[in-house]
């Protein structure tokens, strides 16, 4: 396995470990959607994005907006791992006076680009950021992650239309397609398929990948995938709860934190995975 791939797999597992630890300490929060996004977020923060944890507001930086804001544990884990704030802060998640709110707060947490949690709004704000970067001829890219349930919001499609209308090729969206929302399967609650065709029809360049395969994620996020004059949509097939056997594909793990006992079981699995990855190659 190439070193870079191995390193990112280790990072993703480290993020998952921190997600479990912070959610268990908080006693509430969203496990499933945080875990499903871990590989993509690891690739963004530890390989793809040009950013500077020592200078979070660096003008030329690439930006990442987590539109599915409830999955912020994965974002906080990545920001801490990257050095935006000390890792100890992670254990204050959702507690009084913490810099880590239950949903992302751009005024409280260094590195958080936009306050989100009301589904759909982050996507439209990322659209505005891409527009602003274009206006200033900035080289940076804007990345934004959406949930599949989130795509049921009308604002997602209003934004999809706007981003292609303004030819925002500096905008790359990633759809965390785990086919689960709160009340059940996305395909049963309110079908969004055929999602590739929909975004193509809205004028986007669309790639479909395995959202847990580091090679495929890096391939799709590469600047080489950008088609001039079009925004990019990466449909990432994922498993909600990925990496913790008893959380995988379980709708009930959407908005629940592990108890101390459950966290212990989950951490055992994740540390074993970490060891395996470190020994491998």
């Amino acid at each position: 396995m190439p070193d870079k791939i191995k390193e990112l797999k280790i990072k993703a597992t480290q993020l998952r470990i921190d997600i479990i630890k912070m959610l268990s300490a908080a006693g509430s929060g969203h496990s499933g959607g945080s875990l499903s996004a871990a590989d993509i977020v690891a690739c963004l923060y530890f390989s793809v994005m040009r950013h500077n944890p020592q200078n979070p507001r660096w003008e030329e930086r690439d930006r990442f907006v987590l539109s599915k804001g409830h999955a912020c544990p994965v974002l906080y884990a990545a920001l801490a791992e990257a050095g935006y704030f000390p890792k100890e802060e992670l254990l204050t998640l959702r507690k009084l006076n913490s810099i880590l709110q239950g949903h992302p707060d751009m005024n409280k947490t260094p590195g958080v680009e936009f306050s989100s949690g009301s589904l759909g709004q982050g996507f439209a704000a990322a659209f505005g950021m891409a527009l602003g970067y274009k206006l200033d001829n900035k080289p940076g890219r804007i990345f934004v992650m959406l949930g599949d349930g989130e795509c049921q919001e009308g604002i997602v499609w209003e934004t999809a239309m706007g981003a292609s209308h303004y030819k925002l090729d500096n905008l790359t969206a990633i759809l965390d397609y785990n086919n689960l929302q709160i009340d059940g399967k996305v395909s049963e609650i309110m079908e969004i398929a055929p999602i590739v065709d929909k975004f193509r029809a809205f004028g986007w360049t669309v790639y479909e990948i395995d959202g847990h395969n580091i090679e495929e994620i890096l391939w799709a996020l590469s600047t080489e995938r950008i088609v001039a004059g079009k925004p990019t949509m990466i449909i990432a097939r994922t498993v909600k709860g990925k990496g913790v056997s008893f959380m995988e594909n379980q709708v009930d793990w959407h908005g629940k934190a592990p108890t101390p006992q459950e966290a212990e079981l989950a951490l055992k699995e994740l540390y074993e995975e970490l060891e395996r990855l470190k020994e491998d190659g």
Binding site: L96, Q101, D183
Partner: protein, 318 residues
Amino acid sequence: MAEQAVKSTRRAYGEALLELGEREERVVVLDADLSKSTYTNLFAKRFPHRFFNMGISECKMICCAAGLATTGKIPFASSFAVFAAGRAWEMVRLSIGYTNLNVKIAASHAGISVGEDGPTHHCAEDIALMRVIPNMSVLVPADAIETRKMVFAAAEWEGPIYIRLGRPDIPILFDDSYRFQIGKAYVIKEGKDVSIFACGLMVWQAIEALELLEKEGIDAELVNVSTVKPLDEETILRSLSKTGCAVSVEEHNIIGGLGSAIAELIGEKLPAPLERVGIRDRFAESANWKELLKKYNLSPQDIRDSAIRALRRKVEKR
């Protein structure tokens, strides 16, 4: 003291809806991917053909409910308050308010007692948002018993209604003899020194404040103003003309909610010192809901302090 029974108003709503579904065929229920949190899932399980999950799309849900109402149904539409009253506000205004259609919006997770999810999911603005829409009635139950009666009354009432529900388990204050009527405030305890007008879970906090005041020899009157609109002017003015000063108490921004409604009323009809207990025009934060009530000025102590201030102003006025 014996353990007090507790239940959230959202759960009481879900259970009442189930009862209502049995005896009223025209009732249909809509939700936007939060049926486990709003407890409309109870109705969904029993009456799957009369339940419509809209997916995550509150604006569509509101207009769809309005459309259903034009076909003679009695739609109850539920989500979190911040999405039902906030995100979908203009849809509520036109498709339900302007049309004056028979839609009931029952929104849970109102206020800041949502707790850990934080300000994006709190809603300290919904009473204000709903109150300013003509034709809309605004109901805020104080406990599970009142919620149940409110749901039945809402189904019988012809026209738009907003019911504000909460997330946490709170004490059950009333028993089955409690009489709820839309547009009527309920005097919980009579008193002569100061009138406390409260709604929602703050009624419980106000009951605790009564004890603090009693210890200091202050005889406060407590009124549950569970209909914020149309306001029960008669009961409020009668209480105020007896006590001469008032405190409003709500889990809402002090701007636009029950306190404002009372200030508007007494400003025009019976000027008197009024102190408002509520969230002081700021966003709260993520934390356990009980900690939040303390930090954001919604504790029995805050109510007691406000009552003392109101009393002092009354005396100075004389």
